[in-house]
Amino acid sequence: MLGDNVVMNLTNNNFKNNSAFIGGAGIYFNNKLLSESPYQQNNFIDNKASFANDFLTFPMRLKITDSTYLRSLSSLTDKTYSLSIVPGITETSLYFDVVDYYGQTVKSLNGGFVFLIILFY
C-alpha cells in the first residue's frame, strides 16, 4: 500500500483526453499503491495509452493466459498446482501476462508476456 505513513487522497478529479506513449495516461504508481481503485472516486474519460489507458502500477503478478492449461490447473492444498500433460509429450509451454496491482496487463514497447517452456526428459 501507499507508504507506511503516507496518505494519498485523490477525490473528485477529472482525467480527460490525456495520452501516454507507454501506459497510464492518468496515473502511474511506482512502488506504492492506493488501497482502492482510482475509479472509485475519480472520473476517467477518453484517455489513451499503449496499455492501461487510465492508471497503472508497477508489474507485480503473473497471470496464466493459456486457456487450455488454465482449465487443467487445479489448486492443491500445499499451494502448488497440478498440470495435466498428455502422455508422450516432450515439450510444452505455459503463457503468462504480467499484470499490475489492479490486474491490468503490463507491456513493454515490444509487447509483453512471459512464457515458460517445460521439457520432459
Partner: protein, 145 residues
Amino acid sequence: MSGNIAINTIENCTFVNITSTQEGGAIYLSLPGDLTITNCIFSQNTALDGSAIYYEETNLKTLILRSTFFYQNVAGENGAALFISGSSAMIIEKSNFIDNLINQNVQNLGSVLYLNNPGNISILYSDFERNEGILGTCIYYSETS
C-alpha cells in the same frame, strides 16, 4: 525573478513564458515553511524539470495550490507543471492542468505532476485534460530510497 525571497503566499499572479535550462521555470522552492498559491496562472513555461514549480529536498512543510491554472507548460524531462521530490505535504484543490507535456523520450516520466517521495497528498476537485506524456502522464508517483 531570481534570487532568494521568503514568502508563504502567492495570490493572483501570472507566470507566462518563463524559460530555464535547468530546474524550476517559474518557481524554484528552496526555503522552509509553508507555501500557498491561490488564483494563479502558469502558462507556457519551460524547464528541464518542474517548468512551473520545482521543489526538491528542502524543509518546505506544505505546498497548497488552490484554484490555479497550469496551461501549456513544457518540460525537457519530468514534471511540466510540478516536480516534487521530498517530504513535503501537498494539497491541490480546484486546479486545472491542461495541455502540458514533456519531451517525448521514453525515459521521461510524469508530464504534469512528478512526485517522488512526497508526504501526504490530497488532490481534490481538479481537472487534468489533454496532457501528453510517456508513463503516468497526469500523476507519476514514486518512492525511492
